[in-house]
Symmetry: D2
Subunit: 131 residues, 4 copies
């Protein structure tokens, strides 16, 4: 298991008329979180795709604990885990450092496929990022 | 438990560079599904909010079974359930009638609050929609 | 010049904390409008892409006249025009039939390219859709 | 006239199946640009709204010069201008520093309203940000 963090600033576009962040946007921030996790380890998801590897999401879950608001500065905490040579999992926590609030917690699971969508194994160097 | 359906046509905006629907959009369609479920029962979520009742999402989950594609005509099947006087749950299935494929399955759980975000009970007439 | 219409129902996801539709979403509805314009004429943008033709947007403009609100049932009116063999334009009006309000007016201009992004001419049958 | 910049990293969610950034997202980045312009000048749009001032968009335009791609690190350049005591304009350029490409150029115009949507004048301290 390895971990990382990312920062996002809540956009007006991400709020809804309840005055808080619309719930689907947390999944977008999860994506930002795992991209920055990978960048911090020295590679990028873009580079991974260029090598013919994709990580389509097969399951996502999110628990909403406290509402996020416009312009909040948020920290996405990520933990990455290899479930099998062809399946990975990320766990996320969305924190608001200003008041130490935890806004959300969730996870995603991903298959490992080639660019045609066929299952394949993670290349060794990528696999090592998870360990 | 009561049920309903909604139709959505996949927008270009909802696809990503993998050529398929971006995963967070299924949660948007879940929202469309529960709105149409309520409309079919003779009221609307807009009317509910006008009465001072909100149903913020406290948990969402989605399993991604097959990719949706641009311009797909999809059916969102919804089942609504009262978990308690102050908590409701919706279960969803996203179907593609053209090839009888099930693209996704998931659920959301919602608190019942007033417009200030304080817990409250569902009004009787709304409660009866779930039964 | 040919014309068409599409209907959209405002989603909660499309509102913002000002309580109205977030401005970028009108461009998404413009996309829905031109897709339905093409469908009404007997083909689809998906089919067009399958033939190797893309219509990337090179300019978009929108004037916001009155705010759209959650659950509004809107009509997107579309007029399509050939500017040259390799350039097309769509003009849009977003109407709310319930109160005959015009919420927005705008246009998009599109290049005609192959799937590699190189300029090409519209195929004859597609060209005739605009005339 | 005053100016500022913001940085955005292209999210997977923001791409479409053409493999490039979906056109409506540039308007979201314009929003990020004007928010960061204001922050750099010592206040925030959130604070402005808390004082009872809103800046709803009344017109938006964008020219798309070169496609943005997933994971691109982009710079949003912003120029702010007072058109009248009750109307402001922002001009934007979206640059990709890695190859000095200009991806898009556009502008937005905004009314100045109170939180009920009625026209009002900009408060003096905010007005001075534009001059």
């Amino acid at each position: 298991m390895t971990s990382g963090t990312a920062r996002v600033r809540v956009r007006y576009a991400e709020t809804d008329r309840m005055g808080v962040v619309y719930y689907a946007n947390y999944l977008v921030w999860f994506e930002v979180g795992r991209a920055e996790w990978m960048r911090a380890l020295g590679t990028t998801y873009r580079a991974l795709e260029a090598e013919g590897v994709q990580l389509p999401v097969i399951e996502a879950r999110c628990q909403y604990l406290r509402p996020g608001r416009y312009d909040d500065d948020l920290e996405i905490r990520v933990e990455a885990r290899l479930l099998s040579p062809a399946r990975v999992r990320f766990d996320y926590q969305v924190m608001r450092p200003a008041d130490h609030a935890r806004l959300a917690a969730g996870h995603t699971e991903h298959a490992v496929t080639n660019t045609a969508g066929r299952p394949r194994r993670l290349p060794g160097p990528v696999r090592s990022l998870f360990e």
